[in-house]
Each structure stands twice: as structure tokens, then as C-alpha cells.
Symmetry: C2
Subunit: 560 residues, 2 copies
């Protein structure tokens, strides 16, 4: 579809006037549009939001039908969306979700990229990624705190609490990966972030996620070393292919202090560019001979991971950043690909144990003032949580809004329900101009089964058990979330994960208050329970302290 | 666990006195117990209900904790069960399900028997089959009508509407397979049903599902030929191994008119007995060398399928009966294993298009009179449906109750909601002694993705798309079903299916009436929608006639 036609379809609804029959429907409509806003989505004219080919609707016909359905949807109806296509509207009830979605789910024995592409070609499926197909992507800002927390924890574990005076190398400045340079500089460090597509770097510079750009490796190294020596924070976007640049760095004896990668390696066809090809050549090959493309792509990933392993041996603190690149390298014969850990077991799991994860909210009014007021509420109500308050202040200063104004902040079990009520009260009192949408990434505490990422190396060996995201989706839907989704694939690609999303609207009503209380309790609650069941003490303590009803809790901890 | 301890734990609650805080909880408790009732379950002392190792709870500790949880569960609480283990109780609301279950779900890339057995051994998982882990198995009676309908349609397509004067050969007289001989005789035919375990045949004879038993092939053939010649209905249980007997039949030039199989071939370790071993030897080998067992088991299935193919060539109407034996044979090198069709595309899909499938209800009172009264209601309210009324009369006459009295009957979209209200009214008026539980198999119109069975050979090629069962589960949970489950594996084994279950209680209240209306509409409705989306005219007409809201319906049928 041409950019202009797409732009005509993607409408920026703002203010307090409804285009639908109620705020819940309106919230869905505005968030769908926002997912595809040109400030937010990577390639809106192809319905691609982020993460390779993560889409918001199966095709433009489906998009139109979804919009039409939302505009006519009654307060007691529920629209069902199957891999980006609206398939039926059922009469349910006012406390039911307005939309239920299932995206990219394939019977397990066939759950691979080949089958997916075949179905995709037949028009029977789309790739939902995580927040793309579930309409709660908010641009790179959505991942910033998670990335910040990861680097902060890395700094704590390895560099005395700060990245000052260290250099981090990474690749991939896409929708999610673009948060890396900013997160490193927020932690005081220097970052060289490689991307093969120059426009991606330009985009990060426009939104102040990256400071400077170069296409010279030597220049990048010089700038980085200078900043490191001066203890200054600096992020450098380096145009190039990571699988070529990393070996070059090794040749020059340049070994960074920390090393990771966020190319879209989970999708060898659409997310990763093999070495030896210009972007134009790569695009041509992808279209003319996808098999050959995938072959080269996987071979390049093996080279890429081997270079990471070598740098690790030479002292770089190395971790996988959730794109499943280790698995591909291993399948390609790099036996020790899993020698460096994933970011979740290395840095994030303790937060998951308390139900914490990338919680977020969006001002449907479109007015940034609404978000600043909610910032104030956090600073006031959670003033005892210094880390959190620091984050809010830093976010206000450094993070540009993209599309609808929004905020991300890792809250956990108990905190989310409490804050949900505060937000709802602020809407009710008129302090905020319009309702607030509350959601999270699928990458959360109790919503995902992903053995190479969120559930890597679980204490009890339950990495691949996938009952949890399904229970999560069902209990959130039942509680009255506004929309709920179950996806397969996502950030680690076909076959490697199942996960659920949830979004709920605070419209200031008493009914919404009750729904918020339920959903914002069960959702992070599932995270605590999942980690209790796996035997984590932090989670067990959290469950005890908060009086959660866990039938076999005592049995469980007796065993530990 | 010893049989006595198990029997002490499995209590037959009957009558109108509650052992819990409400009828919804009571229904769950009684149905869990009923699933394990010795009249119903295949091996209650191992918690095995049917279908190989399909279980009702992960282990006895979990069973106890589930029972305890149900007894204390409030009217606004929801218990979550993860692969047969109770993991948390959340406060939800009175219209929410009392229990949500997810069983045997594994991240797709690992969704195979090896991983399952590993998790099972670690105590992290159980096999939920379909109705075993979701507590709505009602013994062989649960499958009788489906099996009857299958043979009736086969008779219609190939034998002028009756099996009189024909011989059908099959194997497997387990929980489900045991329905075959009765279904054949109900259609007027002769059946030789082979089972390797004599006690299974005895059991079918006790409940009048099978007429006679023999361990002599020659005797079986003689009896069958005699009955065929006389045009009499007769079912013969033949003790033996199907992979040995079928080749022997071919040697004797005995080719049946119809041929199928319902051994638990979906599970090569626990469900199928390889040739050349006595039961004792098989049990020993299974324990001492499971790998060797599986190897032999698969090799025997290849022999078994080859014999079926040969008989087919020689004129037997041959079909797969949903145990995935073709897939195993194919993996073993029998290239043309899929030359005979599955029973769904061959005989059942037209019913699925109208939302029809194995609907069932159970009298919680335990009083058979309650079921007879509901039979009368069907005969009265659906008197225009002759086929249905015939079924009810035949069922009354021929089907023994097992455990709680219950009835099965294939109703579709529209009919289910209508009958749900009738049942609820009968409870309200006191005509029935206690509430009624309403449910269905996972093998239903809109609740399963299973490319070798329920969704084999879909018109649009969407056989492996698995979004549907997940949407089904979510919308039924939201509507207020009493319990909802999502399972992986089931009748075709690990990797080959995802499916959802739903059960709802008619307790005579107005609230239940509203919930029944919703759930008994959305559930079969999903079946219609799934087949509309795949382009089936019967479904498209049904949707049009009944005014379902399908956003892209017109677009869809314009294409057809
Ligand atoms: N860590 C997390 O929290 C997290 C969260 C979500 C996603 N992810 C994963 O991170 C990856 C990136 O996500 P995204 O949304 O930024 O994806 P994206 O598709 O928007 O961006 C990928 C970027 O990688 C670049 N790239 C591809 N091949 C390259 C190569 N050989 N060398 C250098 N650059 C190359 C592309 O030009 C593009 O800019 C995905 O695999 C995603 O699943 C991680
Ligand atoms: N068609 C349907 O509607 C439908 C529905 C549910 C299940 N199924 C499938 O049918 C199969 C049977 O289900 P079930 O509940 O009866 O299982 P079950 O495990 O209770 O019974 C299986 C029977 O097969 C016998 N058997 C095993 N190997 C044999 C051999 N080599 N020769 C002869 N007999 C042998 C066993 O002794 C046992 O009696 C399963 O695979 C199930 O998934 C079909």
C-alpha cells in the first residue's frame, strides 16, 4: 500500500470526542491507530509495527473491517480477532473484554517459519510479535525502562553500579533495539550501536535515543575511547553489519566492556541482514530466493555469535538480548552458543519474582500534560521508592513521546492495582482530560513461556511449560480486561514462545475500578505464582507477605 | 497408590446436600470425583481416566489440594489448575468461572513425547488428554453418539443407510474405543473388535457395549460371517494384537466391509502394545527400556497400517479413527499411510459446520430419573428432529449409565442455548432434583486445531492454525462458563493438537440462565465461525440464517 493511502487510514484520534460507542471501544481504536502511527511503527504502510514483520492487522481489508467493527461495537459485545483478521462479534456483557485476540498460533508439530510463511502467503495468518498484534506497542519508549534496568543490573553486578568509564557494543537499532544506546547513556556509559540500515540510526538520532552517527569503525572506536577516558556518556550509531564489524573489532584488538545484540535474529528472513550484501542486494535476494537468503542469514549469525564468544573470552561481559540468536547459531553448529546467558536469568528474574515487568500507561487525550500529572502521582504516592522516582524524573527529561503520550515503569504485584485505582480516580475527578489505557509488554513476569528468554534456566527446569500464559490470558479476560491476546512466536521467533497480552482502560467509572482491581491483581499475581511454583524464595516471600491463596505453598516451600 | 486408598479418596457425592459453598463448586467437585469413579475411569488408582495416560490430577497430593480448594472456594473466587496441580486462587466475581485449567501445554519447539516424559518424571506436568484433565469425561457413553453418527454416515455413504449385512473390523476397546462395537450394532451391523487386553473386553461386555468374547480368530470370523448372513447385529470382542490379527485375516482372505482402529496409537509408550510380547512382557519392557518399547511400538503400528492399506485395496472401506496412527506409520516410512482419510473430513465435518458436536449433560443428583426427564424434554421440544429423537430413544434402551447419570446428544448452534434454558428452567421449577452440568468433548466444532483429525483437509488449507481453540476458551470463560480448559496433545498425542473444553452448570438461577445463554451461544458459534472462515457453504448459510455478526462474511462468500 502506498504511504499516502496508509496515512489516510491511520487517523490520530485525540481529545474527548468519541468515534465509537464508548471509551473502551475508543481505547482499542485509538491504540490500534497509535500502533501504526508513523512516529511509532517501523513500516506503517505495510502494517508492520516492529520486530521484523510484527503486524497490527493481517492486511488492509482486515484493518478496515476491524476499524468498522470497533466503531459499531456495543458496550456488551466482544470482537474476536484471529491473526489480525476480525472473525466474529458476540454478545457478551459490559464487564467482558471488548476484544479478544489470538495471533500466529500454530499446532506445535508445525510451528516453524516454513509453515508460517506458507500460511502467511495464503492470507491465513500474520506475525503478531508481542505488542504489535495486540495493540499496546508504544514505540521504543516501551522498552526503555526494561533496557535501562538490564544495564543498571549489569552495572551493579560487574562495574560497581555504573557504566561510567565503560564501553558497550551492541547491534540493532530497530523499534526495540533502539532503546539500547539511550539506556547505556542513562547509566553513564559509552555505547557503540551497529545497524546495517542507516535510516534506523537517523531515526534514533531524531528522537534523541542516539547521540552521533558514523560509518567508520575507526572513528567509532576513537570516539568511544575518548568518551570512556573522560568518563562521559556517549552513544554512537555505527552503520554496518554486526557480523562483519565484530570480527573487525577483534582484529583491531578492540574488546568492549559489555556486549550484546538486538538485531531481529529471531526472524532469519525478514529480521536479519546477512554479510556481503548491500541493503538493496539483500532486499532483492529476499524476494527472489528466500531459501538462499535464510541460509546466508543463519550462516552470518553463526559468525556473529562466534565473534561474541571470542570477545567474551577476551573479557567482555556478554549476554543474549532476547532475539534467539544463540539458538540459530547452535543449529548452525556453534556448539557453545549458549555459553553466554540470556538477559532474563542474568539480570531480570528477581524482578519477575515480585510480579514486576514493563507496565505502561497511555493518555487517550493525546495531551502530554495528562502524562506529566501521572508522573507527579507516582512521585507522590511511591515516594519511598527512590529507584522508581529516579526513573520517572529521568524519563521526563530524556524520553520523547512517540504517538500518544505514555509512560513506562516497572511496577509489581500490589503496586499495579494500587496505581490503577489512582489513575482511575484521576480520570473520575477530571484531573486528567480523558481515560487512561493501562497495559504491558508480553515480556512480563507471568505471561510468557520462552525457554531461550523469559523462562530460560528456571530453577525447577520448567522452562518449556506453556500452561502459564494461557492461564494468564484466561484469568485476565475473566476479570474484565478491555482486550486480551495470546500469541505464539514473538521476540524469539516461531516455535520458541507462547505469551499473553493484556490492556485495560481506566475510564473513571466504579465498574472500571472493580475491573482494574481484579486484572491488575491477577496479572502480576500470575508472575508471582509462576515463580513460587518454580521455587524462587523472593516469590515465595512475596506470596506469604501479601497473603496470596496458593494451595500447595507450604508443601512447596517445605521442599526447598 | 493402592486401590483401597484411591477408593477412599474418590467419593461418590450424590443428592442435594452441598459439600462446598455453592452448586458451581459442588459441580466441579462431583465431576472430578466422577471422572475417577471406578465405573468411569480406566485406572482410577493411577488417576488415569482414559486415552493412554490421560489423567484427572497430576498426583494424589495435587488431587487432595484440589479437593480441599474446591471445598473452601468462595462464590467469587477462581481456582487455577496448571497441568493437574492447583496453583492459585484469585478473587474474581460471581459470573466468572470457578476453575480455569491449562494442561500439557509445551512451547511448540519442544512439544514432543520426549520432553513431555521428562517433565512428567520431574513432576512438572501430566497428560490431560481431552476430557480427562478437564473433568467432563463420562465414560464410553460420552463417545457413543459420535461413534454412532460416524458409522451411520459411513452406512449412508457406502451401504445404503444401514450396516446390516456388513462386517466392521476395528481394534481398541478402551474408554473411547469401547463405544465402537455398540455403535456398529446400533447401526445394524456386525463388529469384530480386537483388544490385546482381555479385561478391557470383559468390561465392555459387563456394560453391554460388546456381546461376546473369544480369543480365536477363526471363531470370530465364523461368528461374524454367520451373523452377517442372517442380517443380525452382533459384536465380538477378540483378544489379540491388531498388528498380528489383521495380517492373519488377510492370509485367510477375510476382508471386512469396513475397517478402522482405536488403539491408543497417539501414545507409543503407554497406549499401544507392540507385537510379539505378552502383556506382562510389554509392561516389563515399558518400565525397563522405554526407548526400545517405543521403537517396537512404532514398528508394529507400521505393520498395522500396512495391513489396513492392503485391506482397503481389497475393498474394505477404511478410515482413521483419530488416534494419529497414520502419522506414526508415515514417520516409520509407510509413505502412503495417509491414503485412507480421517473420520472427520470423511463423515463428521458437515455437522461441525452447524456447530454440532458431542454435547452432553450430567445429573448432579445422581438420580437416573433426572436424566429420563431431560430425555422427555428433548423428545418434546425437538420433536421435529426425527434423527435426534431416535437417538434419544435408542440411548435410553441401550446405554448403561456409568457413574453420574448423563446423556450425550449432538446439538448445534441455536439448539444448545435453547436446551440450556430448558434444563435451567427444569432445575428452577424443581422438576429435577438437583442442578445439571452441561459440557462437551474437546473434539467439537469450534474448539480444536488438529490437522490429523478435527481439522484435517480444511477447505482453505488452515488445518494447522491454532488461534481458534484459544479464542474459544477465552470467550467461553468470559461468558461465565463454570470451568474452562486449554489442552495440548489429547487424542492425537504430543505436538499434534491444541483444544479447549468448557463446562457450565444450570443451577436454576436467573444468573445461570444469562451465563448459559452466552456460553451455549459462543461455544458452538465458534464452530460455525471457524468453518465460515474456511469457506464452507453449510456454515456460511447457518451464519446468514441465524444473523451472526461476522465482519468479513460478505467479503468471504463473494470469494466463493
Ligand atoms: N530484549 C528485549 O526486551 C526485547 C524485547 C523485544 C524484542 N526483543 C528482540 O530484539 C530484536 C529486535 O527487536 P526490534 O523491535 O528492535 O526489531 P526491528 O526489526 O525493528 O529492528 C531490527 C534491527 O536490526 C537491524 N539489523 C538486521 N540485521 C543486522 C545485521 N546483520 N547487522 C546490524 N544490524 C542488523 C535492522 O536494520 C533493524 O534496524 C528482536 O529479535 C526482538 O524480538 C528483545
Ligand atoms: N474417534 C474419536 O472420536 C476419538 C475420540 C477420542 C479419542 N480417540 C482416540 O482413540 C484412541 C483410543 O482412546 P481410548 O480412550 O479408548 O484409549 P485407551 O487407552 O483407554 O484404550 C486403548 C485400547 O487399545 C488397546 N490396545 C493397545 N495396543 C493394542 C494393539 N496393538 N492391538 C489391540 N489392542 C491394543 C488397549 O489394550 C486399550 O484397551 C486414542 O488414541 C484416542 O485419542 C478417538
Amino acid at each position: 500500500m502506498s504511504t499516502t493511502i496508509a496515512e489516510n487510514k491511520i487517523i490520530r484520534y485525540r481529545g474527548t470526542e468519541l468515534n465509537t460507542k464508548g471509551w473502551q471501544q475508543e481505547a482499542v481504536l485509538r491504540m490500534l491507530m497509535n500502533n501504526l502511527d508513523k512516529e511509532v511503527a517501523e513500516i506503517p504502510e505495510e502494517l508492520v509495527v516492529y520486530g521484523g514483520i510484527g503486524k497490527a492487522a493481517r492486511n488492509w481489508e482486515s484493518f478496515d473491517a476491524i476499524v468498522e467493527s470497533l466503531k459499531n461495537l456495543e458496550d456488551d459485545e466482544t470482537l474476536l480477532v484471529q491473526s489480525g483478521k476480525p472473525v466474529v462479534i458476540f454478545k457478551t456483557h459490559t464487564d467482558a473484554p471488548r476484544v479478544l485476540l489470538a495471533n500466529s498460533n500454530i499446532v506445535p508439530a508445525y510451528a516453524n517459519w516454513d509453515t508460517f510463511h506458507e500460511l502467511d502467503k495464503k492470507g491465513l495468518m500474520m506475525y503478531g510479535q508481542m505488542t504489535a498484534g495486540s495493540w499496546i506497542y508504544i514505540g521504543s519508549q516501551g522498552i526503555v525502562q526494561g533496557t535501562y534496568e538490564t544495564f543498571a543490573e549489569l552495572a551493579k553486578q560487574h562495574f560497581n553500579g555504573t557504566l561510567q568509564g565503560t564501553i558497550t557494543v551492541t547491534a540493532g537499532l530497530g523499534g526495540m533495539g533502539g532503546a539500547q544506546p539511550l539506556s547505556v547513556t542513562m547509566n553513564g556509559g559509552v555505547c557503540i550501536a551497529i545497524d546495517v540500515e542507516e535510516w534506523r540510526i537517523d531515526r534514533r538520532i531524531e528522537t534523541r535515543y542516539t547521540d552521533v552517527k558514523t560509518d567508520s569503525l575507526d572513528e567509532a572506536i576513537r570516539l568511544a575511547n575518548e568518551a570512556k577516558a573522560e568518563g562521559k556518556a556517549l552513544s554512537i550509531g555505527l552503520v554496518g553489519n554486526a557480523a562483519e564489524i565484530l570480527p573487525e573489532m577483534i582484529k583491531r584488538n578492540f574488546i568492549p566492556d559489555a556486549l550484546t545484540d538486538q538485531t531481529s535474529a529471531h526472524d532469519p528472513l525478514n529480521g536479519y541482514v546477512p554479510t556481503g550484501l548491500s541493503i538493496e542486494e539483500a532486499n532483492k535476494l529476499r524476494a527472489s530466493d528466500p531459501e538462499e537468503y535464510v541460509k546466508r542469514s543463519k550462516a552470518s549469525m553463526a559468525v556473529h555469535v562466534k565473534a561474541m564468544l571470542e570477545m567474551m573470552e577476551k573479557g567482555a561481559i556478554t549476554f543474549d538480548y532476547g532475539n534467539n540468536i544463540r539458538q540459530v547459531a547452535k543449529d548452525e553448529g556453534v556448539e557453545n552458543a549458549f555459553d553466554f546467558p540470556g538477559f532474563v536469568p542474568a539480570y531480570i528474574r528477581p524482578q519477575f519474582c515480585e510480579g514486576k515487568g514493563p507496565f505502561r500507561w497511555v493518555a487517550l487525550s493525546g495531551d502530554p500534560e495528562d502524562i506529566y500529572k501521572t508522573d507527579e502521582a507516582i512521585l507522590r504516592e511511591f515516594s519511598d521508592n527512590e529507584h522508581l522516582c529516579n526513573w520517572i524524573r529521568m524519563a521526563q527529561e530524556k524520553i520523547e513521546f512517540q504517538g500518544l503520550p505514555s509512560r513506562i515503569c516497572w511496577l509489581g504485584y500490589g503496586e499495579r492495582a494500587r496505581f490503577g485505582k489512582i489513575l482511575n480516580d484521576m480520570v473520575a475527578s477530571g484531573e486528567l482530560k480523558a481515560p487512561i489505557v493501562i497495559g504491558r509488554d508480553h515480556l512480563d513476569s507471568g505471561s510468557v513461556a520462552s525457554p531461550n528468554r523469559e523462562t530460560e534456566a528456571m530453577k525447577d527446569g520448567s522452562d518449556v511449560v506453556a500452561d502459564w500464559p494461557i492461564l494468564n490470558a484466561m484469568v485476565n479476560a475473566v476479570g474484565g480486561a478491555t482486550w486480551v491476546s495470546v500469541h505464539h512466536g514473538g521476540g524469539v521467533g516461531m516455535g520458541y514462545s507462547l505469551h499473553a497480552g493484556v490492556v485495560i482502560v481506566a475510564d473513571g467509572t466504579k465498574e472500571a475500578e472493580a475491573r482494574l482491581q481484579r486484572v491488575l491483581t491477577t496479572d502480576p499475581g500470575m508472575g508471582v505464582v509462576r515463580h513460587v511454583d518454580a521455587g524462587y524464595d523472593i516469590a515465595i516471600n512475596k506470596a506469604r507477605e501479601t497473603g496470596m491463596k496458593i494451595p500447595m505453598l507450604d508443601k512447596r516451600s517445605d521442599q526447598n
